[in-house]
Symmetry: C2
Subunit: 113 residues, 2 copies
DNA sequence: CTGAATCCATTAGGATACTG
DNA sequence: CAGTATCCTAATGGATTCAG
């Protein structure tokens, strides 16, 4: 059981972060994306914070980063196998919220898009 | 999709907290427990923090609190139906970690019991 | 375009002491 | 026993600026 608790914490560490789910979902949909594209897609995220969250996701091996090494900087991000495997778990968390969370409480801050 | 993201955040809010999973798992096993018993079961948690987390879980309606109103203070906590429904989700998070998290990284801080 | 560095506000959680 | 109040530290994330 103590073993499981550590794995719970480790998993939570990987997926918690204000914008991580949006990054993961966007990469799951688009397949691949660049820093600027993610920044435009995820409105309201600060430049620094997006860089931080991408770096954490990369450290946890949920996403991979490929630098094209051209004169004009060009970096692409995509899900790793591990990253793809976590998507159904995120879906499960959303689904539980869908049926158990009071919707009146969460209709306040829809992404302004 | 934005809808789902809000439900993800709402769910994460409910289950994130350093000791919440231990509280929920203990109540799931024991059925009911008192403040002091939880404090003895969950080693290392501070008095104040345990009180905080119990209060949050109660606000989110994952647990219920019954005060016996006797001379000698006596309060019992137990899972609500909503609280019971979240246990399989917590299990799913643990299970994902079990198969996808590097065990070398999490064997450091087993609960010292 | 990508990203690192600095400064700042907010929050979670621990230590401790106090109340009924 | 159960809970509250105060003080303190560490970590998260935003605003902004600098660099390659």
């Amino acid at each position: 059981m103590a073993k499981y608790l550590n794995e719970f914490d480790a998993t939570m560490q990987m997926i918690q972060g204000k914008w991580k789910i949006m990054i993961l979902y966007e990469l799951a949909e688009a397949g691949t994306s660049r820093f600027g594209k993610l920044h435009r897609y995820i409105k309201n995220v600060s430049h620094k914070t997006l860089a931080n969250q991408l770096h954490q996701l990369e450290e946890d091996e949920l996403i991979s980063r490929f630098d094209f090494q051209t004169a004009e900087p060009h970096v692409e991000y995509q899900l790793t196998a591990k990253g793809k495997s976590v998507i159904p778990l995120l879906d499960a968390i959303c689904d539980w919220g869908d049926t158990h969370v009071d919707h009146a409480l969460i209709d306040r801050t829809l992404c302004d898009e």
